[in-house]
Subunit: 293 residues, 2 copies
């Protein structure tokens, strides 16, 4: 067997067209242009590149984007006052603080300052709580993208066994909660594995879908899979590669070749989960603009 | 094998002594008496009996309790204004609205009105969100009691497999999240089963701990267990019994006799989870008073 490749770029491109249509309709009907504010503190190169990509995607979808760039040593109070101003600004519907923040900041304080109505990353406690109880919320972008990728792979997870590896607040825990909901595209039996699981393979070998978000290459290999499983690889790891122009290449948390030989479908890295994350940020920003206008 | 009985009444009694000591210390050190306000809307007999038991437990622990009883047809706005007054009342540290509310009320609106600092049931979205991300919060009372019962059974769940049956917002989902945390008394691999799980036994047969919170008698039976498993039975179901004085008896979600023949430890119904729920309400109220004073 050779797995189908779940093409995140293609799926994202289709969704972005849908989002652009939604943006155009909101402009036409209500004269509202969805606006996303991105706050970047410091000059971490990876963060700059993420922020640039988000802003570009915003503009391409017809949304307005505003970037607020602050020095790494800005007082936290000043950062909080920027957030307060954006909370009150009716032209801004989504607010995103690029993480990680430089040392010395309380990420929790900063995230908590974002108005839940504009928390398009879905990271505030009130939003997470609403997600857990099935109330209207913003689904965090990466988990949301994962749901869409599994659906795109033609897998209806209802009654199936989903195994999630990794218990981060932004991927593993919400993904586990979302797949277990009594809802379309969900209703799965879900097992959450993590660094405290002595034998991850014991669980993954029973899974119809494996979501690996461990932050470690080769966390998942083909001999850990049931034939025909669907693999969603959330990892983005740099491994040294002298033959690559930059001296490294990107790999996921799954050993792609051995997994692809056993799975029925798998997301590549790059080109799988990554493009979906920004797309679902646009989705949430459009949704925020609809709710607020 | 015949399972040990995990005696919830005994464990609860010990914890209530500890709580009473904490209450006395807070009075002595800060002159503060923890105060719990209980709002009861309508005259559902089960709700009246729960509320009475909660108030009695409060007084026995040296806490102050205040009952606000409203007619089933009270306007929701009036209920909300009572909650607002309690939020602002410095002698009240915990606020509890007895559920279910009569028809016509929005439980979500009502719960959302409770100040998170006084949400000792742990039902507000912001509290649930904080629990999910591992921030300071009030752990909902029944899940909190379950953690204590498993600990009392001598089971360290770290690295073990916990299977939870039922995905309610007040038991199943938080229990699953709590056992999966990277924390003492947790760090388990957790599987969440529910009405969408075609073969629950496939999962429970692998479990070191089974928490059954399905609301249905005989959801779990001995032939669904691995020998030596620990069973926590959250169910409280009335089954007709002509020989009982009231014409019914209470049973859990587990078939007690067959489970007790296979498990290493099991909670009885009544006398297992039930007494722990009120105890953890007292625990949270004391904690709220400490934080607020």
């Amino acid at each position: 067997m050779q797995a189908d490749i779940i093409d995140g770029r293609k799926l994202a491109a289709g969704l972005r067209l849908e989002i652009a249509d939604g943006v155009a309709a909101l402009k036409a009907e209500k004269g509202v242009t969805p606006g996303l504010a991105v706050i970047l503190v410091g000059d971490n190169p990876a963060s700059i590149s993420y922020v640039t990509a988000k802003e570009k995607a915003c503009r391409e979808a017809g949304m307005a984007s505003r970037e607020i760039r602050l020095a790494a040593d800005v007082p936290e109070a000043e950062l909080l006052s920027h957030i307060a101003a954006l909370n009150a600004d009716s032209s801004i519907h989504g607010i995103l603080v690029q993480l990680p923040l430089p040392k010395g900041f309380s990420e929790r304080n900063v995230i908590d300052a974002i108005s839940p109505e504009k928390d398009v990353d879905g990271f505030t406690p009130v939003n997470i709580g609403k997600m857990m109880i099935g109330a209207e919320c913003f689904i965090p972008c990466t988990p949301h993208g994962i749901l869409k990728l599994v659906e795109a792979a033609g897998m209806d997870v209802s009654g199936k066994h989903v195994v999630v590896i990794g218990r981060s607040n932004i991927v593993g825990k919400p993904v586990a909660a979302l797949f277990a909901r009594k809802a379309r595209g969900a209703n799965a039996t879900v097992t959450l594995c993590h660094t405290g699981t002595p034998d991850v393979a014991r669980y993954t070998r029973q899974a119809d879908v494996v979501v690996v978000a461990a932050g470690r290459p080769r966390t998942l290999a083909g001999d850990m899979l049931k034939p025909g499983a669907v693999v969603i690889d959330v990892g983005v790891n740099r491994v040294p590669d002298q033959s690559a122009p930059k001296g490294y290449r990107l790999v996921g948390d799954a050993d792609f070749d051995s997994c692809a030989a056993v799975a029925s479908a798998i997301t590549p890295v790059p080109g799988g989960v990554g493009p979906m994350t920004i797309t679902m940020l646009l989705w949430n920003t459009l949704e925020a603009a609809r709710r607020l206008s």
